[in-house]
């Protein structure tokens, strides 16, 4: 239990200490971030060895206490969050001389981590609400770090986020009204298929989809992610949007009555289709490099949503594996993409995609990182994205969903189109954009690291699937 509690409380405590002691913030931050990594690894090993664990916080009885539960999936998500947090902090540290982020970044990112870790662990509807709300606000605060230009998108983000949380809360209230329980495992299988539950689940799903930027509720995401500082965008895209998705998964796989599942599956699948297609098209058309990556997030979330929809319809292990592999590989790949694009944007002074001309000569490392991460986004072997797509394909073939296979093909081609839109430009030798200053190597390597990690992921498919408890 201790590792789990520490994983949440350490960053929380660190954030508070940093507020009190801002001059030591960086040192403290790195101490905590580095310390969390072995903790997360050991926790993962512990769970692997001794199986699923759960606690009731404060030793209250099951009805009152908040339940925390750690299975393979949770520990994996914990580890990925910690890793990316460390990586992004290292990136921020490495560019500190060049373009320092406001000091508020350190406590905020710790708060973000704390709320996210709590979210992965929590199995209580209301506790999840609190985590979600906290996560949303910290995320908005982080977006504002890039200065005045981000205020409007940040405020929009906040309003959407608040509205979404309220929707979720209303749903929680309705469920509590019916059953008087907030604990998810206790509620599992209890819900009847009546209209009250339908309204409650609809409201919660709506809120969560809004927060997870599921198409067509994604409108806030591109603006917010594109205007945030690059490391923040990396955190937002890689981790924050996955939180609501996780809750959505919990809700529909454990709570929802079977009678609702087909309808939800259709809803989610059509949202996924829209996301994959329109997200991809928007990414191909947008003139700005960061919005390209942001729209790609919308599109990529579509795959995970699609997998979720098919979990609801067919409950095949392939789809569960696909969903979480998508989430994990997207987290790593998208972090790499944002860091690389941020680095390119800053060094070349290039906000527009067109200005990335010749980047493969001027900044080969960053461009390589983007391309490698892009390979995973497309699903080229041997990358994590490929693994996920492979699982999804197997599931779709098994359930004979030929239309969705076609949709997947189209979506993959769209993702290839936007990734290679950038890469092809990078090879333009006619008029390369000259860097404003000599490129820094360390941040580029830091951008490359998660991209390489996501390709290494492919080799560890078997341990990953064991952790996800899915047999293909």
């Amino acid at each position: 239990m201790w590792p789990a509690v520490l994983l949440v409380t350490l960053p929380l405590a660190a954030a508070l200490l940093m507020l009190l002691w801002p001059r030591r913030a960086r040192v403290l931050h790195f101490a905590v971030a580095v310390g969390l990594l072995p903790l997360a690894v050991s926790f993962l090993l512990q769970v692997t060895v001794s199986g699923e664990q759960q606690w009731f916080l404060g030793n209250w009885g099951p009805l009152l206490a908040i339940r925390w539960q750690a299975d393979g999936l949770t520990t994996l998500l914990l580890l990925v969050s910690v890793t990316l947090h460390l990586l992004v902090s290292a990136y921020v540290g490495s560019i500190q001389r060049r373009n320092p982020l406001p000091a508020a970044f350190w406590p905020l990112s710790n708060l973000l981590l704390a709320s996210l870790q709590a979210l992965w662990l929590s199995r209580d509807l209301f506790n999840l609400y609190v985590c979600l709300e906290l996560l949303g606000m910290v995320a908005v605060a982080l977006v504002t770090l890039s200065g005045d230009k981000a205020l409007r998108p940040a405020l929009d983000y906040l309003l959407y986020s608040l509205f979404a949380s309220l929707c979720y809360l209303l749903g929680v209230a309705l469920i509590y009204a019916g059953y008087g329980v907030l604990d998810i495992p206790m509620l599992a299988g209890q819900l009847e298929a009546n209209w009250l539950n339908a309204v409650a689940l609809t409201l919660m799903t709506l809120g969560l989809m809004l927060k997870a930027a599921c198409w067509p509720l994604h409108l806030w995401l591109p603006a917010a992610h594109a205007s945030a500082p690059a490391p923040v965008s990396a955190l937002l895209s890689a981790l924050v949007v996955k939180g609501p998705l996780f809750i959505l998964y919990l809700l529909w796989t454990t709570l929802a009555p079977a009678a609702f599942l087909p309808a939800a599956a259709y809803l989610l699948a059509s949202a996924a289709l829209g996301a994959m297609l329109f997200g991809g098209i928007a990414a191909i058309r947008t003139p700005y490099s960061k919005s390209l990556v942001a729209y790609s997030t919308v599109a990529q979330l579509g795959y995970a949503t699609l997998a979720l929809a098919f979990i609801l319809r067919f409950n095949l292990p392939e789809f569960v594996a696909a969903m979480w592999l998508f989430v994990l590989s997207h987290a790593l790949a998208k972090a790499a993409c944002f860091l690389a694009i941020g680095e390119l944007q800053h060094t070349l002074g290039a906000r527009q995609v067109e200005q990335l001309k010749g980047a493969s000569q001027t900044m080969p490392l960053a461009m390589f990182a983007f391309a490698v991460a892009g390979g995973s986004l497309i699903g080229l072997p041997p990358s994590g994205g490929f693994l996920a797509k492979w699982a999804l394909l197997l599931g779709l073939w098994q359930s004979q969903q030929f239309f969705w296979l076609l949709a997947l093909v189209v979506a993959t081609l769209l993702s290839a189109a936007y990734v290679f839109r950038v890469v092809v430009l990078a090879f333009d030798r006619a008029a390369p954009t000259a860097p404003d200053f000599s490129p820094q190597r360390l941040p580029q390597y830091l951008a490359l690291l998660p991209a390489l990690l996501v390709w290494v992921m492919a080799v560890f498919s078997l341990p990953l699937l064991t952790l996800l408890k899915q047999e293909l």
Binding site: K389, V409, F420, S461
Partner: protein, 503 residues
């Protein structure tokens, strides 16, 4: 043979070009000597290793390297006779192309990047040849796409970028279709090792329709790289790449990867029996026959040397597909031997085209008038390559055409001989006028951009040695077809092993 070498030799063969390639990426532009020696070291090492493996495979050793990859589908590098055919082809031609590329790119920028990807490309090709199951094949197939793309756009001009986009659009779609097919087949039959005679026979009774779908997907995916008719659009455009790249692309790496994949799918995944009982060969046969004629027909109208060669590739590679689709042992021999012969002949032609362009600035066919006197060795090599393409003895192309023709007659499809004859005619129509201009044409204006690379030789020696070397290969392979070393004998061995399972 020790156990470790049985296990690690295939891996070492892939790494022998991969590691130098990765090292080269880190080199600075000025470190010419180090880069060149790394390149050559990789080439020589690979050739030695391939030789060792060749001897081993002939003696019946079983080389296999396994790495856990997907559930139920390991990453396998396995050496059998068929893969060795392709490995030997690509390693030998890599040697020639490396030397050629060093000479060709002398004093041009971004060489580290070029040679890095060049090595990666060969590693992917060799990996693809050694891939022991469909999933490994898919992996290397996609890696090949990625490794060749930077080479195609290396020049960085608007045309090459457009070509690169098109190349990606085609090959990535193809890769995706292949992935769909592989995943479907994985679901139906798992992903066991390639087996002579195929492994889907038990499913024939129950899953016929899905097997057909899988076959169509696989062939469509592979057909993109093999430039089968409606999927060939990328190839003519991709010839804007530097000459060594075109040479490698057309002769070994990309189009051959597709053709080789088709061979694998038909013989080692589905097996002749399943393919014929599901009537899968017919569409492939017609498509290949049409592509042969179509490619040749398009080549006629091209005025650019490399473009004409590109369309000729479309036509010639389909010979391989056609031979495979005929499903007979003799046709299979023809197809396999053409895999090698076409590679050597086409690489010679591209080397020569590169020499003309680099030395005299000649890009158009009409500028070739009388070039035979200025560059005799290159022109002899070009002439022999062209004669081989037409299928005139003693060039190697005749041997493969002969076996393909015999194969067609053997399975009672003599109308296909007409296809070969017509294609040979068209080949003659677009190659002989070029040869005529080279030797008999009268030079009517100064060379567009002449350069003196050497005092005594017609061009830089590094540009001259590779085409002469491959030209000698063409002659030797055509004349001494029956010797033990020849591709023909090796193809017969492969076919013997493949078809002995059907009896």
């Amino acid at each position: 043979m020790q156990a470790w070498s049985l296990e690690f030799l295939p891996l070492l063969i892939v790494l022998s070009s991969l590691l130098p390639g990765l090292l080269i990426f880190t080199l600075k532009e000025q470190q010419v000597a180090l880069r060149t020696s790394l390149n050559l070291l990789g080439v020589v090492l690979k050739l030695v290793l391939v030789y060792v493996m060749w001897q081993g495979v002939k003696a019946g050793d079983n080389y296999e390297f396994r790495l856990a990859f997907l559930p139920g589908a390991d990453l396998i590098l396995h050496a059998d006779a068929l893969s060795l055919l392709f490995v030997v082809l690509s390693s030998v031609l890599w040697l020639a192309t490396t030397i050629y590329a060093i000479g060709y790119l002398e004093n041009s920028p971004l060489r580290s990047r070029f040679f890095g990807y060049f090595s990666l490309c060969v590693s992917a090709t060799v990996g693809l040849a050694l891939a022991g199951n469909l999933v490994s094949f898919l992996l290397f197939y996609e890696l090949l796409t990625l490794a060749t793309f930077p080479l195609v756009v290396h020049r960085g001009t608007p045309q090459s970028l457009a070509a690169g986009r098109r190349y990606l659009a085609y090959t990535l779609s193809g890769g995706l279709l292949l992935m769909l097919g592989v995943s479907l087949l994985h679901l139906l039959a798992g992903s066991p090792d390639f087996t002579p005679g195929g492994y889907v026979l038990p499913l024939l009774a129950t899953e016929g329709a899905l097997l057909k779908v899988a076959f169509a997907l696989l062939i469509a995916g592979l057909g993109v790289k093999a430039a089968l008719f409606p999927l060939h659009g990328w190839l003519p455009q991709a010839m804007v790449a530097p000459a060594p790249v075109s040479a490698l692309l057309h002769a070994v790496a990309v189009v051959k990867a597709g053709a080789f994949g088709i061979v694998r799918v038909v013989y080692d995944v589905f097996g002749v029996e399943v393919v014929s009982s599901l009537d899968l060969a017919w569409p492939l046969l017609f498509l290949a026959a049409f592509t042969i004629l179509f490619g040749s027909w398009c080549a006629l109208a091209q005025q650019d040397i490399k473009k004409r060669l590109a369309y000729s590739t479309i036509s010639q590679v389909s010979y391989i597909t056609l031979g495979v689709a005929l499903l007979g042992p003799l046709a299979a021999v023809g197809a396999l031997v053409h895999l090698v012969h076409q590679g050597v002949m086409k690489i010679t032609l591209f080397f020569c085209a590169g020499n003309y362009a680099e030395t005299l600035g000649i890009h158009k066919i009409r500028e070739l008038n009388g070039v035979g006197r200025r560059m005799p060795l290159t022109s002899v090599a070009f002439t022999l390559g062209a004669l081989g393409m037409i299928g005139i003895p003693p060039a190697a192309g005749f041997i493969s055409k002969w076996y393909l023709g015999l194969g067609a007659a053997e399975v009672a499809q003599p109308w296909l001989i007409l296809v070969f004859v017509l294609s040979g005619l068209l080949n003659a129509c677009y190659f002989l006028p070029v040869v005529y201009r080279i030797w008999f044409g009268v030079q009517y204006s100064a060379w567009p951009a002449p350069q003196r690379f050497s005092q005594r030789l017609e061009t830089h020696w590094m540009l001259l040695v590779p085409p002469v070397f491959t030209m000698l290969l063409i002659l030797l392979m055509g004349l001494f077809a029956s010797t033990e070393l020849s591709p023909l004998s090796w193809s017969e061995l492969i076919v013997e092993r493949e078809f002995s399972f059907d009896d």
